[in-house]
Symmetry: C2
Subunit: 196 residues, 2 copies
Amino acid sequence: MLKKRLSEQLKFIIEIDKLKAVWRQSYLTDGSRKENSAEHSWHLALMVCVLQEYVPEEINLLHVLKMVLIHDLVEIDAGDTYCYDLAGRAQQAEKERKAAARIFNILPADQAQKLTALWLEFETGVTPEARYAAALDRLQPLLLNYASQGKSWQEHQIEKQQVLERNALIKDSSPVLWDYAWQLFQEAVEKGYLTE
Amino acid sequence: MLKKRLSEQLKFIIEIDKLKAVWRQSYLTDGSRKENSAEHSWHLALMVCVLQEYVPEEINLLHVLKMVLIHDLVEIDAGDTYCYDLAGRAQQAEKERKAAARIFNILPADQAQKLTALWLEFETGVTPEARYAAALDRLQPLLLNYASQGKSWQEHQIEKQQVLERNALIKDSSPVLWDYAWQLFQEAVEKGYLTE
């Protein structure tokens, strides 16, 4: 007989497979297709490992990794709202709260509580770990957009100012990465990937 | 001017985007399509977080997470060889060594060295962390195969004995998870997902 606890954990593991079917607006670097939120979360997790040295504050790396691995799970129910769709984003918060309540609670109560707290920490964005996770969550699509010659920006007629406002929080975690992002914006405008 | 070190790290981050284009033989749980190695790595990383309590040995969770996040990067050059393709697997080792040498060395030397060592640790499979990573690397496709009613097993005419041999190492990390895997095999055979 399978114990209730393990059975709940396995049910959660099967459930989260659905994140592979949530499509984002960013294209892969070669522009061949859009990426999904599971791939994005993996990419982000590896970036977290590689770029930690650019955060001046002390960071608990394990905590950030767990955070980025689960940060998009709510999209299984709530979907991915394009970051420049401001009307959509306003309604999104309530949908995501409900999604978190359903999805994390598939797990045994102690684990559900921990992952919910981790997700709320990410959403609130106050701790150094959450600010680092949020900074890379902005930088990752920026890198993909630049590499795919602004394909997604052009599809949605996004302008430089919108991208700058959206990404300014990178600075709150890492001035070095923000300098780099700034340079990338300039180049994206010069190359015509992004309009002024 | 972008510093050489950050430039190398960003080049690596762009390079690994290619793992999203490496397709595995496992189908998603709903059977709609096969999964790629980036999604698989993400799924595995979350399983690592959720199932740690079933490993009797002491485990450094951060170490396992880094390991599963990078364990398939060599497939960018070497491709994914189906686990039951024994002839293919024999040639794979050399291809993967070359791939590791190229891909990890895009990073600055200190990081390249660490990730190469981590990948070798996974491949060698001796430490508790590597055994746990390997166990879940077997369990994850088993769960997907069962959920998708053995779609991939049937496509490749895989038999129960092959799956049992392939997955026996789960036991070396976690007797509880092995008991569960064993139960899943029995059910897979009873339901006709897997032939005797």
